[in-house]
């Protein structure tokens, strides 16, 4: 190892950093690197497949003799399965296999804990027949008491959902409540507020599901997943197979958003059906099952207290939060995230509350949109309380140079000075009032050590990159092509990408925005290793040292000797073998510029004060994701996050009937997702930061852009109408009620 110095950061703030990479590593790209392909606009490599309908997603896999699986689920919020009679179902035409989701000997005592809990699965020779057969199973249930509402579940006499004495788990308090309260009491201004957010379902358009085909003594699996390797490992350990006996392919995945890690119950059931019938089985969930049983973003109830001194400096933050992830946990909220006060000035207690509903699953920036909705509205409240511009107040309390630069960029782009200075005091067009709001965010997305990659150069000049991880729509495959092209002096379209197959080198699940930062350095290093092998072969031919050779603009050449230059393809003829392969493992992270990424969003809204309808007119989103590899797809990620965040802010809501314990809107009619007409004008700005945590400098981008949107919209609504909305989704009924309360307060 030799110590090297790199310059990291961005135009507004940079520093030198010493790193100690292994000698086999490629030179790290830093702030001063001039790159040809990285950071440009590169259309997706799988675009042509996707726009023509040629792309085969798991749902589209059709195999000869394939059966169709269907799961039978609990119709009750809580019930004991007293008896199961499958005789009639098994006699139905075309029925080939039936497996239970739990130990069959437990019939009589097995407790189902939510409407949608799995009971059994059947495979038949057509989807219609599988459906018919599931409907023919006769089950006797003994319904049990249940609770589906967060507040009800916290009451002392609530039915117990899981084991234990109470449905409330946690309160892992951090900080000293009394000390923080004392600080608040001594603050010159303080606010206290309660916020609520709703349950959101992931609602990827391709539902969860798999096709499992028996394959020799193992299985071949097509899965709609965010984790090719976690599906492989999950299924192999469940079935007692070796990892190599399970091959998982996920060439195209119709979205995930955090709900598609591991094989899931449906994956295990599908595999058991396939093995029982000894035939391929396709089991894709229905839209309704998708809402009920495979994950969601928990709701929240957050009590926040903030204080500031007379100069506008935050003095204390206190947050007590509750949330329900159904029968599962994971309902914490991320407060505070941005404004770092001393430990003695911060108190935080998070609790999970169990209810009889489908378990939560990580959803795009778990905990953050909830927490930021509360925290960034609280910041706004305190700013107005202090008589400060909300942006100025944030600048006073935010020490991150990246976000400070972003705040300035965004403010300029949206025209922040044009907003109404007094909330609700803007120029009105009849009942329509406009306002602007801002919210900041951060995310941790440096990636980690778990990835390998192979890059192969053929004698004919063909270049192929192999990496097993999946592309769930982020543009990951295109990232692979860009990195290899950069290193070899080629164009992305010259590179063949082979990804999303467990036979290829290991890659991580698409979670925590880590796929790119984890894999990119390994691919960079593999391309570098392959290039070195090509250079070694050429060095022999040209009688020079490999270090004298470069690859750029489609050529391989010796800079000091113009006679030694060949187009890449011709140069590859120097290889003695048919092909050479560069393989590499991901190295550990360097210290880097910062361990997290920064972002902020500005929103402009128009509120109809008579109907309560909110329209978001514009959103400016500024985001840091370390070094940007593909500008085009990065902007897509950002605007996609904004749209999903807007949908969360205004429309989406999993609505449970409390008396029946069932979801009433398990469809796309009444579970409302933002459509084209709800889409504002969006300006996505990627702030390129050479992060220096790895040889590429990339950080992740998947999650952060969804975080601050709801908070920015809420703050904009307040700015427009002078009334704050403390609860998501911010639907017309809530706006009308809040405006009426304000009128009432005025006249009272």
């Amino acid at each position: 190892m030799t110590e090297k110095t790199v310059r990291v950061g961005f135009s507004g703030d940079s520093k030198e950093l010493k790193i100690n990479p292994p000698d086999t590593s490629p030179p790290a790209w830093d702030l001063d690197s001039k790159l040809a392909v990285v950071g440009t606009n590169v259309p997706r490599v799988d675009g042509p497949d996707k726009v023509t309908g040629r792309a085969k997603y798991t749902y589209d896999i059709n195999l000869p003799g394939m059966l169709y699986g269907r799961i039978l689920r609990s119709p009750h919020a809580a019930a004991i399965v007293k008896s199961v009679d499958t005789a009639a179902a098994m006699k139905m035409p075309g029925v080939k296999a039936l497996v239970f989701a739990f130990d069959e000997s437990k019939i009589g005592e097995k407790k189902l804990r939510y409407a949608g809990d799995e009971i059994l699965a059947i495979a038949a020779d057509s989807p219609e027949r599988a459906d018919d057969a599931v409907r023919a199973v006769k089950i006797e249930y003994d319904p049990q008491p249940f609770v589906v509402d967060l507040d009800d579940a916290m009451k002392a006499d609530a039915p117990i959902v899981n084991d234990g004495k109470s449905n409330v788990r946690g309160k892992n308090p951090r900080g000293d409540a009394a000390a923080v309260d004392a600080k608040l009491a001594g603050s010159s201004k303080k606010i206290e507020a309660t916020f609520r957010t709703q349950v959101q379902t992931h609602s990827a358009l391709e539902t969860h599901g798999l096709v499992v085909a028996p394959d020799g003594d193992g299985i071949k699996v097509w899965a709609s997943t965010q984790g090719v390797f976690s599906v492989r490992d999950g299924l192999s350990s469940n079935l007692g197979l070796k990892a190599e006996q399970v091959r998982v392919i996920s060439t195209f995945v119709g979205g995930g958003f955090g709900a598609k890690f591991g094989p899931g119950v449906e994956g295990v059931l599908c595999t058991k059906l396939a093995r029982q019938a000894n035939a391929p089985v396709k089991l894709m969930l229905t839209r309704k099952e998708e809402h009920l049983a495979v994950g969601n973003r928990p709701n929240s109830l957050q009590k926040v207290k903030l204080g500031a001194d007379s100069t506008g400096k935050l003095t204390a933050i206190s947050a007590t939060t509750f949330g329900t992830g159904g029968v599962g946990g994971g309902a914490g909220c991320t407060i505070p995230a941005i404004y770092n006060l001393n430990r003695d000035a911060t108190y935080k207690a998070e609790s999970d509350v169990f209810t009889n509903a489908g378990s939560s699953a990580a959803m795009r920036a778990p905990g953050h949109p909830q927490g930021i909705f509360a925290m960034e509205q609280s910041m706004d409240m305190l700013a107005y309380e202090l008589g400060l511009d909300p942006l100025e107040f944030r600048m006073l309390n935010d020490d991150n140079p990246v976000r400070r630069a972003q705040f300035n960029l965004g403010a300029k782009e949206i025209g922040w000075p044009n907003r109404p200075k007094v909330a609700g005091g803007g120029k009105a067009d009849g009942p329509l009032k406009r306002g602007m709001g801002v919210a900041g965010t951060l995310w941790y997305a440096g990636g980690g050590k778990d990835a390998k990659a192979d890059v192969e150069i053929g004698k004919g000049g063909e270049v192929t990159v192999y990496q097993g991880a999946q592309d769930i729509g982020t543009g990951f495959k295109t990232v692979l092509a860009i990195l290899v092209a950069e290193e070899l002096g080629l164009k992305p379209e010259d590179i063949t990408v082979r990804a999303a197959d467990s036979r290829f080198p290991y890659g991580p699940g698409s979670g925590g925005s880590t796929t790119t930062p984890t894999v990119a350095p390994a691919v960079h290093a593999a391309a570098y290793a392959a290039k070195r092998k090509l250079f070694e072969a050429l060095a022999t031919t040209w009688q020079v040292k490999p270090d004298d050779i470069s690859a750029k603009d489609g050529k391989v050449f010796v800079a000091s000797d113009p006679s030694k230059s060949l187009p890449f393809k011709k140069a590859c003829a120097a290889l003695t073998a048919d092909k050479v392969t560069g393989s590499a493992d991901r190295e550990a992270n360097y210290d880097g510029y910062r361990g997290n990424t920064a972002g902020c969003q500005f929103a402009e809204v128009e509120v109809d004060t008579e109907t309560g309808v909110v329209r978001v007119l514009r959103v400016v989103a500024v985001q840091d994701a370390g070094r940007i590899i593909n500008k085009l797809c990065s902007e897509s990620q950002i605007s996609g996050g904004v749209i999903q965040g807007l949908s969360y802010a205004l429309f989406e809501d999993r609505i449970m009937d409390k008396s029946a314990g069932k979801m009433v809107n398990a469809n796309f009619m009444e579970y409302k997702i933002a459509g084209p007409k709800d889409c504002p004008e969006i300006k996505s700005i990627v702030l390129d930061v050479a992060n220096g945590r790895n040889s590429v400098g990339a950080m992740g981008l998947g999650e952060a852009p969804v975080i601050p949107t709801a908070a920015a919209i809420a703050n904009a609504i307040y700015n427009a109408i002078g009334v704050r909305i403390f609860e998501l989704p911010m639907t017309p009924d809530k706006i009308i009620a809040a405006l009426a309360r304000k009128e009432g307060a005025k006249t009272a």
């Binding site: 309704k288 009942p431 008579e610 109907t611 309560g612 309808v613 933002a674 009924d733």
Partner: protein, 333 residues
């Protein structure tokens, strides 16, 4: 995903042929027009007719004729065709707009106006097989005490609190349309207001049709010609969504004054709801901001909202007022 139940299928080439295929009970056969509502109910297994009788193969049921101010519409005309009809857009803008604001572009190309009037309610308890509600023969109306933000606000004496889903119905009631209904025993004409039934009269159906009845024509009388009309729909989500509130107004204006008018509220009651007191109030009065606002108040005077939908009361006040004032811009030409 969820498969349809098994059924037989027949193409009827004439109304008579269609009627010949229908049975004495609803479960025997169903008329199949655009199929949008039917397939939806069948996929959810809320309805399993043994036979579908396709009437799109009966060309005599599809036309729009405007003669001497009278408009006659065949039941198979789609919402898209009504929305795009140049003459209706001018002469009956409330109907064209109601059709054009309903559903999605794809659905409007399939959905017929006949089917739109006959579609079943969108109450989420009714639409889900998980809830054995009163309208399906069960014992209770889940919405009354349950999740009722989108339900009716005129609920006095009603055992079930659905809102009627048909956008076309709202406009057609405002125009005082008549429906021609044929059955094997002959043809009758029903005033559209009498077509819709309230839950207190029959909690299992939303209209007077029997299983052997066929709507053969929708007639907007010539008396409506030359009247001004307007329709406004307020929705939570701007890409397709059901209305939180929609209102149609048809009025005879003379100069600045309202000579007579009909005001109809959709998504407010189990049937398209006429605001008769507001209509009376406006008679002979100038159409101005103040009178429109007063009419809005009168329109919701008798509302008895549920726990979650009190917001609809001020909302309808606004929408009634706005729709009345919009008459000025959309005066028939």
């Amino acid at each position: 995903m969820s498969s349809l139940p098994v059924f037989d299928y027949v193409n009827a080439t004439s109304p008579a042929e269609a009627m010949g295929q229908l049975g004495a009970g609803w479960s025997e056969a169903a008329l199949y027009a655009g199929g949008v509502d039917l397939l939806d109910l069948m996929k959810e297994r809320l309805y399993e007719p043994k036979k579908l009788v396709n009437i799109k193969t009966a060309p005599s049921l599809k036309y729009i004729k405007v003669e001497n101010g009278e408009v006659r519409i065949g039941p198979l005309v789609t919402l898209a065709e009504i929305a795009a009809h140049p003459e209706l857009q001018k002469s009956h803008p409330a109907l064209a707009r109601a059709a054009g604001k309903a559903a999605t572009p794809q659905i409007r190309n399939l959905a017929t106006i006949g089917g739109n009037l006959c579609q079943r309610p969108r109450c989420w308890y009714f639409r889900s097989e998980d809830f054995p509600c009163m309208r399906k023969g069960g014992e209770k109306c889940f919405a009354k005490e349950g999740e009722n933000r989108y339900h009716a606000i005129f609920t006095e004496g009603e055992p079930c609190v659905i809102v009627h889903p048909s956008a076309a119905g709202v406009a057609l009631v405002a125009f005082g349309a008549q429906l021609k209904i044929a059955s094997s025993s002959g043809e009758r004409t029903v005033d559209i207001e009498k077509f819709f039934v309230r839950p207190k009269d029959n909690v299992r159906r939303e209209n007077v049709l029997g299983p052997k009845d066929l709507i053969t024509e929708i007639v907007i009388p010539a008396s409506a010609a030359g009247m001004a009309s307007a329709y406004i729909k307020i929705r939570e989500k701007q890409s397709y969504d059901w209305p939180l509130a929609d209102v149609a107004v048809v009025a005879k204006l003379s100069g600045a004054n309202v000579e007579a008018c009909r005001i109809v509220l959709g998504s407010a009651a189990p049937v398209p709801h006429r605001a008769t007191e507001a209509e009376e109030f406006l008679k002979g009065k100038p159409l101005n901001e103040e009178n429109a606002a007063r009419a809005g108040e009168l329109a919701v005077k008798d509302a008895s909202p549920l726990e979650q939908n009190a917001y609809k009361v001020p909302l309808f006040k606004t929408v009634v007022r706005r729709t009345l004032l919009a008459l000025k811009e959309t005066k028939a030409s």
